[in-house]
């Protein structure tokens, strides 16, 4: 390693920034992490939203966190423990005829033989295909059309992974990978509620509906985490998602990284054709051989660096990066556990889904195409305090829900829209938990606009950039920046905007570190 690349500044202390910093520090680099907010963690934090009520303000479930990273950085040794693992899900029905998912099986009223058989088969091939995507997560994407040996080797490896699925599964993989979840569900199931719940996993956090091509891919991505518990297994960290970043921060510190909060970066400094450091909002300038940005690509290049430092074609590709959020987040402080119609209290610790049918999800989606919010939204609900008493005062609870669809740019503007949407959200919730309003002491709704402001993600998209086939692997965030180094010397990306994308995974940060150390 030449000491030319010895000092590193990481812009942003989100989970990927911390992972990257930890690996670089372990490799002997002099690392400084600059976080704008007063606490580390980015969109993977636990914070108070009502007196004595704390919640995972961004991501609220852990299902992608890479087991290797967890082990290599010794996160458990740094205080990471899970309050609950392998959480099951419940597909809520307004009349109380819920469906209960347990591992790879499902039970409940109205399921027929085909549904039960279909479930096993569906889980089998989705997990298997997700494995192919999962293998990509810890690879630095190759470039296309080059004669470079490592590129060709990497592509060959992927081709082999696909071939090793076996003839029939390979054919099936190549058939469905690019299409929509709706058709795949139709091929396997009859029960509408079942299909609705399964389709929800395919569209959460993305601008797509069950009928949109590409939703099989997003479903596979969700199941693709190498989390050590199996495809899409859900966990709740003790102390909320912030606990992951606390452990990452501890690991980074232990490795010698310098972590600074309340240090918003104003701009990236250039020394002729090379990134040479950063200037903070307070005017302070820090020099470094390498600058790594955990910020989203648009913020990094257009705000912090400035378009004048990049070539026009590349700037155009960046401009076209689809990065508008479409997901809202609801936080409720509850005086007591709510009653969901027909749901046993013992199930309240599970993931509760509101998506009664694929068509319901489809209709919810239709609104966002025209800049409106869903009048009947879909929900992914968790009540983490059931597993983790540290989040709320004794006997009281917090509810955290991902709510779709809410466009970043609401036609009527979020100023007035927010109250209206909160009303819609509560009304929908009330159909399933009639007493929810009376139990709710305090409600907080984060629109994509709020998410953009709180987490400084331009567009407020939790993946930093829309997760789609045309923005994945060597196309993420944009060609010529998808190997973590960018057209600007000394400037690297390590955020969710890079491969393999969002969800609290850490792989982007680790791959970026590898790309840097490789230099």
């Amino acid at each position: 390693m030449n000491n030319q690349n010895n000092s590193v500044i990481v812009i942003g202390g989100g989970h990927n920034g911390l992972v990257c910093a930890a690996y670089l520090a372990k490799a002997g680099k002099k690392v400084t992490v600059l976080e704008a907010a007063k606490q580390l963690g980015g969109a993977s934090i636990t914070r108070e939203f009502a007196p004595d009520f704390r919640v995972s303000a961004g991501a609220h479930l852990s299902y992608l966190l890479d087991a290797e990273i967890r082990k290599e950085l010794g996160l458990d040794g740094h205080g990471l423990s899970m309050a609950a693992e392998k959480i099951d899900s419940v597909a809520l029905d307004p009349k109380g005829k819920h469906l209960y998912f347990e591992g790879d099986s499902v039970s409940g009223e109205g399921l027929n033989e085909r549904d039960l058989r279909g479930m096993k088969e569906y889980r089998r091939f989705m997990a298997k295909f997700a494995g192919v995507i999962g293998k990509l997560h810890n690879r630095i994407p190759p470039r296309m059309g080059t004669q470079d040996k490592s590129d060709l080797f990497s592509l060959a490896k992927t081709a082999l992974d696909i071939r090793l699925l076996g003839r029939d599964d390979m054919r099936e993989f190549l058939r469905i990978a690019g299409i929509n979840i709706y058709d795949v569900l139709q091929e396997n199931f009859d029960n509408e509620l079942l299909k609705g719940a399964l389709s929800l996993d395919a569209v959460l956090g993305t601008k797509s509906a069950p009928r949109s091509n590409n939703s099989v891919f997003t479903a596979l991505h969700r199941f693709s985490g190498n989390n050590g518990h199996g495809a899409g297994a859900l966990s709740l960290p003790k102390g909320g998602m912030g606990a992951i970043c606390d452990a990452l921060a501890a690991a980074a510190k232990a490795a010698g990284a310098d972590l600074r909060t309340n240090s918003p970066v104003k701009r990236i400094l250039m020394d002729f054709d090379r990134a040479s450091g950063v200037e903070l909002e307070n005017g302070e300038q820090l020099q470094a051989d390498i600058v790594v940005s955990n910020a989203d690509p648009k913020t990094t290049f257009l705000d912090l660096l400035g378009a004048r430092h990049i070539e026009a074609g590349f700037a155009l590709r960046l401009k076209h990066l689809r990065s508008k959020g479409n997901t809202a987040k609801l936080h409720l402080a509850l005086s007591d556990l709510p009653n969901f119609t027909g749901l046993d209290a013992s199930k309240l610790g599970q993931r509760l889904l509101i998506a009664p049918s694929p068509h319901y999800v489809e209709l919810a989606f239709n609104h966002i195409k025209y800049g409106e919010f869903s009048t009947e939204p879909v929900f992914e609900i968790t009540i983490p305090s059931v597993h983790d008493s540290s989040l709320a005062p004794p006997g009281q609870h917090v509810l955290s829900a991902v709510v779709q669809y809410a466009p970043r740019d609401l036609k009527t503007g979020w100023k007035g829209g927010k109250a209206a949407f909160t009303e819609v959200v509560m009304n929908t919730l009330e159909q399933y938990a009639p007493d929810i309003r009376s139990k709710a002491v305090m409600a907080e709704l984060l629109t994509p606009e709020d998410i953009e402001q709180e987490f400084r993600i331009k567009g407020g998209h939790w993946h930093h950039a829309e997760l789609a086939m045309d923005q994945f692997y060597m196309l993420r965030p944009v060609p010529f920046a998808s190997q973590y180094h960018t057209p600007v010397n000394g400037l690297y990306l390590c955020g969710a905007g890079s491969h393999p994308g969002g969800g609290v995974m850490g792989s982007a940060g680790r791959n970026a570190a590898r790309a840097i150390i490789g230099k």
Partner: protein, 538 residues
């Protein structure tokens, strides 16, 4: 009883192409057709005294020039007449015209947006790149990526070689192009809604997808990769209507000793101990051959014309899952005179071209939302042409024939079969829509044929009325078309072949599936190949 070398089921353009090539190779070939007339969806019919209707497909561009030449269709009377430009109508009374003259088109775009006029140069170039790539594979059999046969490996290598030739950036663009929605794709180039709507039309025609559904960018390509007289992307009329295409092919076929039997459909494709032996017609006749080629849709072939026990359950399951959804309707209208479009008064020649009634992505997408809800679009996308302005043989002097293509129209209305009342209501929806842009239009109507997916299926046999014999989505393209493992025109039973648009490279009056199937058959029969392969022009 005579035994033929091959029997082709269905006298559509692919069936006739296939039959013609087989006959050229010296085979004795019989074509059986259920209708009293030939042509399938490439047909001209006199449904109103003195008027010739191209009552299904209505324009020509995709027809492969290699087929045109090798079957010498000119000699058999096929003449493709290019038509000038197109007009896209806005609700505000303005239009966006496009002309044969590229500069005029650019000036017209500039009238709406200077920026888009510049972008259109980039757009045309990029689309052309995609076309030049895809065209290499239209007249080739897709390789099976799971197979280790030398032939498949060779073909895969050829594919990756051509792919790499594109160069790094173009490869990235291609990968994105094939997976994006046309709406997102156009947003990367243009700002003017009318212009975007004008392009978006060809990205949804015939497919059950909205402009905002990923995968629609490819459908645009499918409509842009054709040509007339070597002009890429140009469209034209077949003189005498689209039936002229089938007629010329049939002429070539007959010239090489082919026989055709019309008026009775196939009751069943006869299979004896794992081999096809011929076909049994509805009228009781039986014809025998060791080779049966089906030009029918994939589902129709196996679900309606074969005995379940001759097929494996897993294969049947896949056939049932084949996506072939009707999304389009058509009106064929006999007009007492030329309709007046106030918006066209400044450039009247545009009435000779393609006229689209659409002016924003949002409207187009909402039209699709209706389809998803199981009803026909209340504010439909309309693609109108008046062929009689270019081809006087279509209607009596002074009178006109108008072809009106409509999207979206569901195969069933809210899950129930179409009724005649609903069909007529749908017709009214469309005519009212046109009346809005052409006051007095209704008064000119002498006769109108309204076709929903139901009519299309009943007459032409297109399952669910899908004009491409199957959705053009990634799960049904190249080696996935019609289903993985059967993308090389061979059916699951020995001697059974498929030559319809359900097979690679898909729908449109292209004749490529028919040609490719013929090449495979001749190969299996160890006959000399009469079918061009690959990309022969320019």
């Amino acid at each position: 009883m005579k035994k033929y070398d091959a029997i082709v089921v269905g006298a559509g353009h692919n069936g006739l192409t296939n039959a013609a090539y087989l006959a050229k190779a010296g085979l004795s070939v019989l074509v059986v057709e259920k209708n009293p007339w030939i042509g399938g969806a490439s047909v001209s019919r006199e449904l109103h005294k003195g008027w010739m209707y191209s009552n299904c497909s209505y324009v020509c561009s995709l027809l492969r020039p290699e087929v045109f030449r090798s079957l010498n269709l000119q000699k058999y009377g096929l003449q493709i007449v290019p038509y000038g430009g197109s007009a896209t109508f806005g609700q505000n009374g303005d239009i966006l015209g496009s002309y044969v003259d590229a500069d005029m088109s650019r000036r017209e775009i500039a009238r709406h947006s200077e920026r888009d006029a510049d972008a259109s140069v980039r757009f045309d170039r990029d689309i052309m790149r995609q076309c030049r790539f895809i065209r290499k594979f239209l007249l080739r059999t897709a390789p099976d990526p799971t197979s280790f046969k030398p032939r498949d490996i060779r073909e895969m290598l050829y594919l990756s070689k051509e792919f790499n030739k594109l160069g790094e950036d173009v490869i990235y663009d291609l990968m994105r192009f094939y997976t994006m929605s046309i709406s997102d794709y156009l947003d990367e180039y243009f700002e003017n809604p009318l212009l975007k709507a004008a392009y978006a039309g060809s990205a949804i025609i015939g497919s059950a997808l909205g402009p905002m559904s990923p995968g629609t960018a490819y459908v645009l390509l499918h409509h842009a990769m054709g040509e007339v007289d070597g002009n890429m992307g140009a469209w034209g009329f077949a003189r005498g209507g689209m039936g002229a295409v089938a007629k010329a092919m049939a002429g070539c076929f007959a010239d090489h000793g082919g026989e055709t039997v019309c008026g009775s459909g196939v009751e069943q494709i006869i299979v004896k101990n794992g081999k096809v032996t011929g076909v049994a017609l509805e009228n009781g006749d039986e014809h025998y051959s060791d080779v049966v080629v089906s030009n029918m849709t994939f589902p129709r072939t196996f679900l309606e014309c074969m005995d379940e026990k001759d097929l494996s359950p897993s294969f049947l399951k896949k056939v049932k899952h084949f996506k072939i959804r009707g999304s389009s309707g058509k009106l064929n209208i006999a007009l007492d005179g030329l309709p007046d479009f106030p918006a066209l008064r400044n450039n009247p020649e545009l009435i000779k071209g393609d006229m689209h009634l659409i002016d924003s992505m949002g409207r187009l997408e909402r039209a699709f939302d209706d389809w998803k809800n199981g009803i026909w679009s209340q504010d439909p996308y309309i693609d109108m042409l008046i062929p009689s302005l270019t081809d006087p043989t279509m209607a009596p002097p002074g009178k006109h024939f108008m072809s009106v293509f409509v999207q979206y129209v569901p195969p069933k209305v809210k899950g129930k079969e179409w009724t005649d009342e609903q069909r007529d209501q749908f017709g009214q929806t469309v005519i009212n829509q046109i009346e809005d842009y052409s006051p007095g239009f209704k008064k000119l109507i002498l006769h109108a044929e309204v076709r929903t997916p139901r009519e299309l299926e009943n007459e032409v046999g297109l399952t669910e009325g899908n004009i491409f014999q199957g959705e053009l989505t990634m799960d049904q393209l190249m080696f996935n078309r019609p289903i993985p493992g059967f993308a090389q025109y061979r059916g699951p039973v020995k001697g059974l072949y498929m030559c319809g648009s359900s097979n690679h490279p898909g729908g449109g009056v292209m004749a490529a599936p028919g040609a490719n199937a013929a090449r495979e058959i001749l190969g299996d029969l160890r006959r000399t190949n009469t079918v061009p392969e690959g990309w022969l022009d320019d």
